[in-house]
């Protein structure tokens, strides 16, 4: 369903001819997305009818109003990857926000930055570090958008232990509602500044997002104040070597460890204790058993050879229950205290520091990767793609249940030969957000997107794990994966098991988007 010439012309008048396109080759580039084949049996998700690139709040508002007036749906995109960033239906205009890429303000004293949608974490982190601050970078990497993470997506990342989860990191927000009206949340709406996103009275942040965002299903966000966090490191990080093998010097007031434990139970005990001691700066489970030989292999063939030879088995076992931890302190006294506390915790939980990780050069690599969150491309190396599952924000003990269930279910798919054999263990996360107040574990897996059987196996794995989290009580799955795995009825599957939340969410969609103009595919369909 192509756009009518009239509508196309109106959109062109808003953004200018150089910022609109309906060329198939351009449009397909928006539909070619990671994980698409687990949702659509194709490497492509839905192709938009046109793409527009607004440069300002006013242009975004005009686009949204025009779409409402002419019955056209729209879907916003900033840096995102994954099918939830693309239209889910025919006849949708993709609103690509890449021209809105400015850091508008950094309030150093009050520790926040005001950003536009296409600012990326890496850009923000560099500017923040100049002021002794940094930002919580999500697991998806430093190449993604803080605004999207805070307003529209999820927000988990390994710095969560000292920098929270991004659903909890927005302050005031400028939001083009689905109807085109501008809502300014919190203190901004009253003209008082960007320092608070809640009130007056009830907090409309509750409508904006939950554990996960509306993923474009409830309007477009044009500015967001994002919390920044203290960075006691150098104002500019210095690197040695060539990417991706570059390393960062570890400052005197930081430490970087890999900690191994004999079981999930002792892993959890240590995570709780570290949280309680308030000593972690970045912490999580980044290196899984399966990833250890991957780091040594230069190709999938070599990975398979290493696995088959058994030479990695012992070391894989050593990293099976491993945490990566960065301690960061504001003084040398503090770092000494933190080290002593950590030693006590290791002694109490039977934890140890694996000898290969005590190499200072390796520590520098780990430090760089965990501070910059810039090593994610490696995950595609083995099989061409990866998927994930589970991922509730919940207690650490419940997250361990996810890890165990993930291993159990994954074994079946490995045995079927549809996903890569990673030793049936790739639990990622365990951030212990906010010094241990809630945790997060995903079970990652690798599949071959070029192999239809493997892609089908990946889709089935996501579906099975999503259904499990709807039926049992270990905590909910990551929404976008569950939606991808279970299809348009996902909310209607989960809702009856969860206080019928879907009924209320549907009413919210109807009240705030009466014309259903914002693409609802990854939010909630208007009807059951």
């Amino acid at each position: 369903m192509a756009l009518t010439r009239n509508v196309y012309q109106i959109l062109e008048d808003i953004v200018g001819p150089e910022n609109i396109s309906e060329e198939p080759v351009i449009l397909d580039s928006y539909a070619f997305l990671w994980l698409a084949e687990t949702v659509t049996d194709s490497k492509f998700f839905t192709r938009p009818e046109a793409v527009v690139m607004p440069g300002s709040t006013e242009e975004v508002q005009a686009i949204v109003r025009a779409c409402n007036r002419y019955g056209v749906k729209y879907k916003a995109l900033s840096t995102g990857w994954g099918p939830w960033n693309a239209p889910g239906d025919e006849g949708v205009v993709q609103v690509d926000l890449r021209k809105m890429n400015r850091i508008l303000e950094i309030d150093e004293k009050n520790m926040y930055a005001v950003v536009e949608p296409y600012v990326i974490f890496s850009q923000l982190q560099v500017e923040a570090m100049k002021r002794g601050l940094t930002c919580h970078i999500i697991g998806a990497g430093a190449n993604t958008s803080p605004l999207a993470s805070c307003t529209s997506m999820s927000g988990m990342g390994l710095s969560g232990i000292s920098m929270s989860y991004n659903a909890r990191n927005p302050l005031a927000v400028e939001w083009i509602l689905p109807t085109g009206d501008i809502l300014r949340l919190g203190s901004l709406g009253c003209g008082a500044g960007w320092f608070c996103g809640d009130g007056p009275g009830l907090s409309l942040r509750g409508i904006m997002r939950g554990t996960h965002g509306a993923m474009g299903g409830l309007g477009i966000f044009t500015k967001c104040a994002v919390k920044l966090y203290p960075w006691p490191g150098p104002r500019q990080m210095h690197f040695e070597g060539v990417s991706p093998g570059h390393v960062a010097a570890i400052p005197q007031n930081f430490r970087c460890y890999v900690l191994s434990f004999p079981s999930w139970d002792s892993f959890a005990d240590a995570a709780y204790k570290i949280g309680e001691a308030e000593i972690g700066y970045v912490m999580g489970k980044q290196i899984a058993a399966g990833i250890v030989p991957l780091m040594a292999a230069r190709s999938p063939t070599e990975y398979a050879q290493i696995r088959e030879s058994g030479m990695a088995d012992e070391i894989m076992q050593e990293f099976r229950y491993a945490l990566q931890l960065i301690l960061g302190a504001h003084s040398l006294r503090e770092i000494e205290y933190q080290e002593r506390a950590l030693q006590e915790i290791l002694a109490e939980t039977g934890g140890w520091i694996p000898s290969p990780t005590q190499d200072p050069e390796r520590q520098k690599t780990t430090f760089r990767m965990m501070i910059k969150v810039d090593g994610n491309s490696a995950i595609f190396r083995l099989s061409g793609s990866f998927g994930t599952s589970f991922g509730a924000e919940t207690s650490c003990d419940a997250a361990m249940v996810h890890a165990r269930l993930g291993e159990e279910i994954k074994k079946k798919y490995i045995e079927k030969g549809v996903i890569a054999d990673d030793g049936a263990e790739w639990a990622w996360g365990a951030e212990m957000n906010e010094h241990g107040r809630f945790a997060h574990i995903e079970e990652l897996f690798m599949y071959d997107p070029a192999d239809p059987e493997s892609a089908k196996g990946a889709a089935e794995f996501i579906e099975e794990t999503s259904l499990l989290t709807a039926k049992q009580a270990p905590g909910l799955a990551i929404w976008e994966l569950a939606r991808g795995g279970l299809g348009p009825k996902a909310h209607d599957i989960y809702g009856p098991a969860c206080s019928n939340y879907h009924v209320w969410q549907r009413r919210i969609k109807k009240a705030f988007d009466p014309n259903f103009s914002a693409d609802a595919t990854f939010y909630i369909e208007p009807e059951e």
Binding site: N110, S187, G189, C196, G199, I207, S331, Y337, F512
Partner: protein, 486 residues
């Protein structure tokens, strides 16, 4: 059946009241909000009672005014605007669970800080408190009102320490917010290791944020899980006196950046005197001796190397203090850190500390940033002078929030409620300064009484959006009508 009989059928005759004395006691509080009597006061015992009452209100059209804290009340939010039935939750006092491993407690709305803290202490926990709350203050009431607590480092989000809730929406539907929503019963969730520690969701809506700050206009909370912290094994308080607020502000920012200290708040001499003094004479005398401004910093050691933690923090604080030209001490003229620590560690004794000077008190509070507070304080002094209110009698409390990203700025105007002339003067000052402060950029995030009009007049789009939310969760407008923008 009459209305009263219907209510009795829901909760029992012993929990429905319509005698003049009872109705009168809920008709007014210490604020300037116009008094109005409810028709009934009803005291539910459990969530089922609450649900029955809300369904009854939808059928009868009777407004409901939820109340969880006992008197004296101060904000006008529990005064009926259109009459109706007060739903007094004070008898729902159960502590449902305390979970040490996840540092969380689940409690009912009638439970006060004074009742919860000793139980938490048995488990090695504590709940961060507002500044010496009155003894009758409900924990859930305080958290639903987004009252600031005195330990800013534990406030990651402004909603903390509120976590999950069970709520009866205005429609009469029972709902659980956050991870408590499901799947599974709460007991099922406990069995799988969950502890209702994630307030968000389920999935794409933060339902709890629509209840919090809503002044009872969306529904009635029947329990909530709350985020607790480790009970310090060792604790030390430092007082940093200064003639100039600005110097203390810069120092406070530096401490917040370095994540030093637990309790961290600023009081002027009047408020510290009010907190410590037992009566007006003692308060006057204390105020004269105290330094004009005091930054209060608590340092705590928990279960892990407690003394060592205090030691490094104290040394770091002293080093920074030297850079900023201020001196943390254990005593200032008129009081000691030990005395202040005692006052901060528990709910206020009787009478409530804000009432000890004159028997009444009117608070003006809003959110801003810490660096802007001197501007508001200067303006407040000018307005006090213009109305003839002694600026030395203004209590000032500055509470950094969200780890220092915002600041609760509070002015306390003591007032003799039996002196009509003084009441008039304070009313004039309260009204005019509230309006002037918002013009200067004060954000009434918790807009009680006349502040609601002021805030929503400046933010029409929030009012429109909030009304849409109201239409979803309380379409018949039975929940505390007349409050906020409803």
């Amino acid at each position: 059946m009459s209305e009263k009989e219907e209510l009795i059928a829901i909760v029992g005759a012993e929990y429905v009241f319509d005698d003049p004395e009872n109705l009168e006691s809920y008709s007014r509080d210490m604020s300037f909000v116009r008094a109005m009597k409810p028709q009934y006061v009803v005291k539910p015992q459990n969530a089922e009672d609450v649900q029955g009452i809300v369904k009854w209100a939808n059928n009868s059209g009777m407004p409901l005014i939820p109340v969880s804290s006992g008197p004296p009340r101060f904000r006008g939010d529990t005064i009926p605007t259109l009459g109706g039935a007060v739903v007094d939750l004070s008898q729902m006092k159960r502590i449902i669970r305390i979970n040490r491993r996840n540092r969380v407690a689940m409690v009912e709305p009638g439970l006060t800080f004074g009742e919860l803290q000793p139980e938490l202490e048995k488990e090695g926990l504590r709940l961060p408190m507002p500044l010496a709350p009155r003894s009758s203050k409900s924990v859930i009431g305080s958290l639903l009102e987004r009252e600031p607590t005195i330990i800013p480092k534990y406030q990651w989000d402004i909603s903390d320490p509120l976590l999950c809730t069970e709520v009866v929406f205005g429609t009469g539907d029972l709902f659980r917010t956050g991870e408590a929503a499901g799947p599974g019963t709460i007991e099922d969730q406990w069995a799988s290791g969950q502890a209702q520690t994630n307030p968000m969701g389920p999935f794409q809506v933060d339902f709890f944020r629509l209840i919090q700050g809503a002044q009872g206009t969306m529904g009635i909370v029947t329990w909530a899980s709350v985020r607790c912290e480790l009970l310090p094994q060792a604790h030390k308080l430092l007082l940093v006196p200064s003639d100039r607020l600005e110097g203390l502000i810069d120092f406070a920012y530096r401490l917040l950046r370095a994540r030093l200290g637990d309790e961290l708040l600023l009081l002027n001499s009047f408020n510290l005197a009010a907190l410590l003094g037992e009566d007006a004479d003692q308060i006057r005398s204390l105020r004269e001796g105290l330094p004009p401004w005091i930054l209060i910093i608590g340092i705590a050691g928990y279960e892990r190397l407690p003394q060592e933690r205090i030691e490094y923090q104290e040394k770091d604080i002293m080093d920074i203090a030297q850079q900023f030209g201020v001196e943390p001490v254990s005593a200032v003229p008129g009081t000691s850190a030990r005395e202040v620590s005692k006052a901060l560690s528990k709910p206020s004794g009787e009478p409530y500390w804000k009432l000890r000077f004159k028997g009444g008190c009117h608070d003006i509070f809003f959110l801003t940033t810490l660096d802007r507070t001197p501007e508001f304080i200067g303006a407040m002094y000018q307005m006090a002078e213009a109305t003839g209110y002694p600026s030395t009698d203004i209590g000032i409390y500055l509470q950094p929030q969200m780890q220092g990203r915002a600041c609760h700025c509070e002015f306390n105007l003591a007032c003799d409620p039996n002196n009509p002339k003084e009441v008039d003067r304070v009313r004039t000052l309260f009204t005019s300064s509230s309006e002037n402060l918002i013009k200067l950029g004060a954000f009434y995030s918790r807009p009680y009484g006349p502040w609601a009009d002021m805030a929503y007049r400046r933010d029409a789009e929030s009012a429109i959006a909030s009304r849409k939310v109201k239409g979803i969760f309380d379409p018949n407008n039975v929940m505390n009508p007349g409050k906020l923008c409803f």
